[in-house]
Symmetry: C2
Subunit: 891 residues, 2 copies
């Protein structure tokens, strides 16, 4: 029989931290903490399998769920010594979601469950605090009303606001027990009015409807959007955690807080956190009250006027420090924890691996290796390779004077400029039109996710380092300045007033998420300097990886960046980019318009010196490393003018009639250029083009010590490659004899970017010294999907889970992967020393790199800025492969 | 050691008829005939391997060739009793090409080789005919000069014409020995002038240069063109046959002729041929003198004034009839023979399987089965399935009065109308522009091949049934009227005068190749009635084949033709064709312009009745048979107006602004529509479109007894098919319940037309009851080659042998074939009753059908007119497969 319910508490648990898939992250870690003997309020977890069951059985539950849950509830009662629904000593519960991975703020929670008109009185008596009891009840009605009954949140707020206005009270804390009683009555009236039935008084009904509401919240649009952005499969489902309530809001010996065992923004090994006295957890996260620092050191560091927990409740703080130490020793990773202090007693409500910036991840990993908590290989495996991206993007130039108009918290590092916009929708729309936007909000909510994703950066005027905006921005790798309280936003006029300056929607601003600064206008940026931690981790990664990492680069700038980032050669130099140079394009066009081979050769000859110089420079930058040069690939019409004015000026310069130009344009027009007269098909029909390129390559190679790897694109059949390889060999023989009398090494290979090439790899390998998988085109042809046109349906496909991921971002391992695998096996059978690599954009995607490792490729090649990501991902792939083969060997 | 030279003659030969690949067709059959004891002048064959060697060794010969050939030459000398180069009794030789398959007139021949200023005197003395000797010498100089020395043919003709004008002679036969001597002197002067050296006198030099010239003629542009048209690989090469000369022009007891053992145009079992007294073979083929009938019966049949061979030389005629009988009994097939009679003695110069019209092929096959020469299975295997095409095309309506303006020989059956053009280049150009053209020539030559291929039909005013025009037209399946002597062509004015009517280039004419008639203007055509022989052979084919044959059809007309031609259902009904109906396209466009699902549904609902009626009619025609309906496939922009006027009128009718229409057109524009938002991607994003189609299908199916097979196009992944199958199932359940309360059978399957679908066939098969291979798109994606755009390089690829065949005509079995094979195996593993078929245009191509048989498909589907071809090809494939497995079983 399937176990649907797992209990935890009092030093023992049914589950453990390894059961995240079943219990969700929260549930698994609560169980683990309870087993460790940490003070966890007892509770139970309803598994994610129940969620799956729920959605596949028309929202019904497994038969035994109810009785299992009741047994678990009884266990809570016996541990806490209260009874659920008891009029004198009522047990109150929290009901929270908990998916495999954290989806902050995405799903629903109900607290104080079990209160009704009767038990509230028991709570008042037992706590000796009538005000607390009625405040708890109204909080419950409000939360339950919103989440379970779907009564609009703001209708409750409205009642509260009216009451405060009427009685001239500034804060919720000013409301008395009598006041809360009246508000509770008004809340209940509201529910009756809205629903036509009274607020449910039966605790069992409350419990089961709350559980159902949590399961249903898995499918809210915001949760769906979040999963889409973070590639979380829909069928994972969420667990539900039902747990005895503890209260941080029963008085001044109560508190609630969140903390990171190390600083999540820079990784510094110090206890970083925030807490509020006499508050419930939600108050910290919501950013409504400004939280206080945890330690005295932190208070001093931030120059905070608010007293730290260390000062206010030193004993509990000491217990918390112990917990911190035990958790790090146990999990061997930085933890993100939630705690509540009820009447001087500490309770742990959550622990999980803490999200962190890439810089923090590097520092923590390096520190933990030094602290002998983990090995270098473990450190390498722990860092999210994709997240390194954050470190590799431009930062603000420190030497440029900044016109800072506002300051806030440095909530997510990096800098960005863009036009200010004030709603998520606007952000998305303007970004679609190609604008860089900065989303400016008072505070963000899960409803803003799509706008945050579309924005280059996020600025809020309220909230702390653990506010929604801060957490989400760090996860997305967007720079964020949070809680910039001096800035005012006027939503009606759509302006922000910052430092006395009025900035309208559409005006450009710059934010520095590393420093927490806001500037008017655009501030110039600089390439980031990479930290010593980065170099240390990269060193470990390089020691661990098997595959080489090369870069896709053709400009000297890109090539230099690539080499600085540790590229071990160029895997793809796209020679056509050199043809687009404004000084050359006229010649290229004249070549295309040539009627005879002779005229074509003449035009090509005039391009030769420039092309040779390109290669010479590139070879110099990459001296000693391999450089793979792809011969001309795009269809010729890409080089032609298309605007009337361009056509006229080209015609004039070339001495042609406009009519003639139009005729040629028409001749070259293609229905499906992606599948047209391009790649080696050009080399076959106009061999003189490739010949010129080969001459340029070999003449350049005579000057610099590199091994040119000449790559023929779009091979369909061996015969094409035989013909072109022969041509290249002849050119090499000619150049090396006439110019130098020496023979320098070079190799000729091909891209595998058509399904047929993969299928015929055994034949093609006979002519190729290397294969480089052009996975962009291979994906397009294998899936029959044009990258340029997929926008009309691909997002929908990903959203609906028809594709787990965008196959142009992360390799379709099931389909395209089969062809790559096949080509590797067949190619190597025909030629055991065949060199194998990938040069599609997937070469910089960690999941795809893992596939490349498993498939036995020799190298990956990616854009210059992704080289460090690829180095790390390749190392991780190597380590995983080693682990796997070790497990296999052991079995 | 490789044997480069094979001798034949005197009842024994080194080779035989089975060695065509090595000896060429002519050489192999000369060897075979010699072995049979038939009177073959002795000779030897230099193998096709020498040709291959020649081209791969910079036109050099294998080392031992010379000595081997000299030994073989000595054997000829000893058999004939003359010596090569002997001044008194010289051996003369013919040097002829001979490839694996006949390439009529494509390559070069030299006759009378061995003559020089000395041996010509010996020949004169020995033959007792000085005029013959010098005529032979001048023929040799002329032929050798043209073929080997490359002195223009017309320069020799000019000398001859001048001589005749000067001496006022009408015919060559009027020239005396003295006259020929003078002409020979002039010819030799011409050669000296043109080449700067005298005409070669050394017989050995003559021989080896002639052999080289024959090998070189393998690569002449016309030979290359011919091979391209007939898909003959370049690397086959030609053999060279060196043979003792016999002379049909030594007097009135000499003759030369060509014959078919049965009538090649209709297959009738009678000895069909032509001969000329006192002539060399070339005279018959060239069509300069009108040849005489072979038999008295033929003379009477054709009402010829010329005496038949049976009358003129009854004894030799009797010998020839014996030879005919022996050859048919031996080869068990109709033979095409060449013979020469020298001074009353018959010599056989060639036999080969005779080319024939499709009608003749059927009749001969049926007759030979009746004559117990072959079995029905052999009969089925013998017929060129592609050639049936000739029979399946329209013929002239016999009930329409014909305005016959000229008559000629019925050289190739069928009828065609088109504009008259007078050069091959013009024919090609006008055909490219989309005109139907009839190529009208005095006589055709190998230089005209491209124009003949481009033309709908061919008309010549000179030449017989075995003239170049007639032979080539039959091979190409083009109707041809040959030797229409009453028609005059004025090339200067570009007109033809026929029956007193002047027809200019560009005027429409009609030819009837079955009757040999030429009409002014266009004559209406009728579907052909298929002969009893056709039905007989089809019956045998149907008995022999395993695979079903279906048709691709969506119009009632096509469906009826298909059923008449024996289609066993519809394999592909393209529903979009129904959308293009002018009465519906406005609704379709409004649907595309709808902003909401509701508006789309409204437009679709108004299309529903018409779509339902389409299916009802189609189902009625195909009653009792399966009908596969493909849901909407093309991208929506294909349905939109693109011309300004259309856009305006559509906008007006739809109540939209022109601007709005342009905007939508822009939105829907795709860079690569072939890889864009089409196929099931439409069904996924706009499910209401497919839903309407499903409703129409099921409502129609309620009225007629068919099993609808609903085919979802462009599947990439199983999830697409799951979703859409579910939708179809829901519609079926709804329709069948609400409308009838019954459940009718239907199945849902998919096209496999993307590489990924083939690779994931094991998963997709879980949702599909059938796979239909859409090999058009599968070829495009697997090869990364757009059919619409390949015109700029694909012909070049085929010409250069990079592709053996156009992969859009004949399936790329190496590449695409692998994917099909894989999909079949994986699909069947997942679902053992998976139905497998093909519905790309390859479904009508015999080679591709053979592949389908080997791969185990259940059916092929092709265009209606190709159904009989497919039936026959499927039978042949079955028989070949059986033979193969029998051989395997025996081994």
């Amino acid at each position: 029989m399937t176990q649907w319910v797992y209990s935890f508490g009092s030093g023992k648990s049914d589950g453990d931290a390894g059961m995240k898939n079943l219990l969700g992250g929260k549930g698994a870690n609560l169980a683990e903490m309870a087993s460790l003997g940490l003070p966890v309020p007892p509770g139970f977890t309803i598994t994610t399998e129940v969620c799956t069951y729920f959605y596949s059985h028309d929202k019904a539950y497994p038969e035994s769920l109810m009785s299992d849950a009741m047994a678990a509830l009884a266990a809570i009662e016996s541990q806490v010594g209260t009874r659920f629904g008891d009029r004198e000593n009522p047990l109150l519960l929290s009901v929270r979601s908990g998916a495999r991975v954290s989806m902050p703020g995405m799903m629903d929670t109900v607290l104080n469950l079990g209160l009704n008109d009767v038990t509230v009185q028991g709570l008042a008596v037992k706590s000796g605090d009538e005000r607390f009891a009625w405040d708890s009840y109204r909080r419950f009605i409000q939360m339950y009303g919103d989440v379970v009954l779907e009564v609009p949140h703001h209708d409750f707020e409205e009642i509260l606001e009216q009451y405060k206005r009427k009685h001239n009270l500034a804060n919720d804390t000013d409301i008395s027990a009598v006041g809360w009683k009246g508000i509770v009555a008004d809340y209940k009236d509201l529910v009756l009015r809205e629903l036509g039935r009274p607020f449910p008084q039966d605790p069992q009904e409350q419990l089961w409807d709350a559980i159902g509401a949590v399961f249903k919240s898995w499918m809210t649009p915001r949760a769906v959007t979040y999963r889409k952005i973070h590639s979380i499969p829909e069928d994972w489902g969420t667990a539900v955690n039902v747990q005895a309530m503890v209260f941080g809001n029963m008085g001044d010996d109560c508190a609630t807080g969140v903390a990171f065992t190390r600083d999540p923004s820079n990784g510094e090994n110090y206890f970083y956190g925030e807490y509020l006295v006499n508050a419930q957890g939600e108050d910290v996260v919501a950013g409504i009250r400004t939280p206080q620092p945890l330690s005295l050191a932190a208070r001093q560091k931030d120059n905070s006027p608010l007293p730290s927990m260390e000062e206010v409740m030193p004993e509990v703080y000491g217990q918390l420090c112990d917990v911190r130490a035990r958790l790090e020793a146990h999990y061997k990773d930085m933890q993100d924890i939630e705690f509540t202090v009820q009447q001087g007693k500490l309770y742990m409500l959550q622990t999980r691996t803490g999200k962190r910036t890439a810089a923090a991840a590097l520092r923590i990993a390096v520190d933990m290796v030094n602290e002998k908590l983990i090995t270098p290989d473990e450190a390498v495996l722990r860092i999210d390779a994709s997240a390194l991206d954050q470190l590799l993007h431009p930062m603000l130039d420190p030497n440029v004077e900044r016109d800072v108009v506002g300051k806030g918290l440095p909530a997510s590092p990096g800098a960005a400029s863009g036009i200010a916009v004030f709603t998520a929708d606007e952000a998305e729309e303007r970004a679609k039109d190609g604008s860089d936007v900065i989303l400016v909000r008072i505070e963000t909510s899960p409803e803003d996710i799509h706008g945050m994703n579309a924005a280059r950066g996020i600025l809020t005027t309220r909230g702390g380092m653990t506010s929604h905006a801060a957490v989400v921005a760090r996860g997305m790798g967007r720079p964020c300045v949070a809680g910039a309280g001096t800035i005012q936003i006027d939503m009606k006029r759509r302006v922000m007033i910052a430092g006395g300056v009025e900035i309208a929607e559409g005006d450009v601003i710059t934010i520095d998420g590393t420093k927490g600064e806001v500037m008017e206008g655009r501030v110039p940026t600089l390439q980031p300097k990479l930290s010593g931690d980065f170099q240390t981790v990269m060193g470990w990664a390089d020691a661990a990886r098997r595959m080489k990492v090369r870069a896709n680069a053709e400009t000297p700038t890109d090539a230099k960046v690539a080499r600085d980032f540790g590229a071990e050669g160029i895997g793809l130099c796209r020679t056509e980019h050199m043809f687009f140079d404004p000084h050359r394009i006229q010649k290229v066009r004249e070549m295309i318009f040539a009627d005879t081979e002779g005229a074509r050769r003449k035009a090509l000859n005039s391009l030769l010196p420039a092309q040779r110089d390109d290669f010479t420079e590139l070879f110099r930058i990459m001296k000693g490393l391999p450089v793979t040069i792809r011969l001309l690939d795009p269809p010729l019409h890409e080089f032609l003018p298309h605007e009337d004015a361009d056509i006229e000026s080209f015609a004039k310069a070339a001495g042609l009639t406009v009519d003639r130009v139009h005729r040629r344009l028409n001749e070259l027009k293609e229905a499906n250029p992606m599948l047209g007269h391009r790649g080696c098909r050009l080399g076959i029909t106009y061999p003189e083009i490739y010949e010129m390129q080969a001459v340029a390559i070999f003449e350049a190679a005579l000057k610099v010590d590199v091994i040119p790897e000449i790559m023929v694109p779009l091979i369909t059949t061996k015969a094409e490659l035989s013909k072109l390889r022969k041509m290249v060999d002849e050119v090499a023989a000619r150049i090396y004899t006439t110019k130098a009398g020496v023979k320098l090494p070079y190799i000729v290979g091909t891209m595998i970017e058509l399904p047929r090439a993969a299928l015929m790899a055994h034949e093609i390998a006979e002519e190729a010294a290397f294969f480089s998988f052009g996975t962009n085109d291979l994906t397009q042809t294998t899936l029959g999907m044009s990258r340029d046109d997929a926008g009309s349906f691909l997002p929908f496909y990903v959203e609906k889970g028809i594709f787990a991921k965008d196959p142009f971002v992360s390799l379709d391992q099931d389909g395209v992967g089969q062809l790559i695998d096949m080509a590797c096996v067949r190619g190597r059978e025909a030629r055991s020393d065949l060199k194998l690599g990938i040069c599609g954009e997937h070469g910089g995607d960690p999941d795809s790199i893992d596939f490349c490792e498993r498939t036995g490729l020799d190298y990956v090649s990616c854009s210059a800025f992704r080289v460090p990501i690829a180095r790390l991902a390749a190392a991780q792939a190597s380590l995983r492969a080693k682990k796997k083969s070790a497990i296999k060997a052991a079995a």
